[in-house]
Symmetry: C2
Subunit: 159 residues, 2 copies
DNA sequence: TCAGATCACTTGACATATCAACTATTGACT
DNA sequence: AGTCAATAGTTGATATGTCAAGTGATCTGA
């Protein structure tokens, strides 16, 4: 007897079952990430920034007053960002970050969040946290810890 | 006593623990998806196509000889693709798909995979399947089924 | 039957991503 | 000191993504 199609299958309108659990898992991961991406993007859009820009602002807020050199910001990004320079250009143009070439190592550029930038991120914190929690709320409490652990293991396997 | 940092924390060089499991889960999901994306992209790059293009080719192969109208291809994509027309333009330019305006409904354009397209996808199937399975192999067998189920639930929660 | 709504794309304009040079500093080693 | 390699960005060219508006084709109801 045929299994009823999983949510992943339905989401890509696929009749046949997946070749393997690995295939289903990967498709699910990509699909979920795309959706989360779009929903989070819609959340930050009203203040005129993108998700990546929001990510940079959070990193710089976390870094405090000393700020961070450009490439260290890139290292801390959730998604790899080879265009970090121009990403920061746009944030600077909006007045949300400031940059200055460091005096002790003149190769590096120190990036800091501005007070306007701080205002912008703080306005987004609550809706964003609520969104994150809502995502995980879709699965029963007793499986949440296991999921986070499995995701961590997947991540470790990917280097 | 301080918990040793999780893989997710390390991957974004974050010292402090996450505000909530939901936050950690979302960061993990996005990070994993980005990595999977890049690795899969590197897999298909040698034959001169992108992941999205590979996704289209698989969809069209699955559709068989009748092919599919443009927007139905878009519906089956893993990641939403508002630029489906141009995506198909590129595949057509490479000779991997063919298109013709349908005669029964002249609004629609029927897309088919070409024999050259079939050759290209089939060359990628094995490495791609192996990759998918390798991703999931990072977690113990007894948790794999649970992970896939949880991912399905996350996905359902996102509409 | 025919005007208006809907559908299935297309196209143009613009933002962002990616990769490969290129520049200015700094570090390491003779 | 002086040369060579490695760093830390920056920039240009090109590809891709995204949104809004436009074009036929089809459907729907008076």
């Amino acid at each position: 007897m045929a299994q009823s199609p999983s949510a992943v299958q339905r989401s890509i309108r696929q009749r046949k079952p997946f070749r393997s659990p690995g295939h289903e898992a990967v498709v699910a991961l990509l699909k979920i990430a795309d959706l989360v991406h779009r929903k989070a993007g819609a959340l930050v859009e009203p203040v005129g920034i993108t998700q990546q820009q929001y990510n940079v602002l959070r990193i710089l807020r976390g870094a405090g007053a000393e700020g961070l050199p450009t490439l260290e910001v890139a290292e801390r990004m959730i998604e790899q960002a080879p265009g970090i320079t121009r990403l920061l250009d746009r944030l600077e143009a909006k007045g949300l970050v400031s940059r200055e070439r460091s005096s002790d190592d003149r190769r590096t550029v120190r990036c800091r969040i501005s007070s306007q930038g701080l205002r912008v991120v703080s306005r987004l914190d609550e809706p964003m946290d609520a969104f994150n929690d809502r995502v995980l709320a879709a699965i029963p409490k007793r499986h949440q810890r296991q999921l986070v652990e499995s995701l961590n293991q997947l991540l470790e396997g990917l280097d």
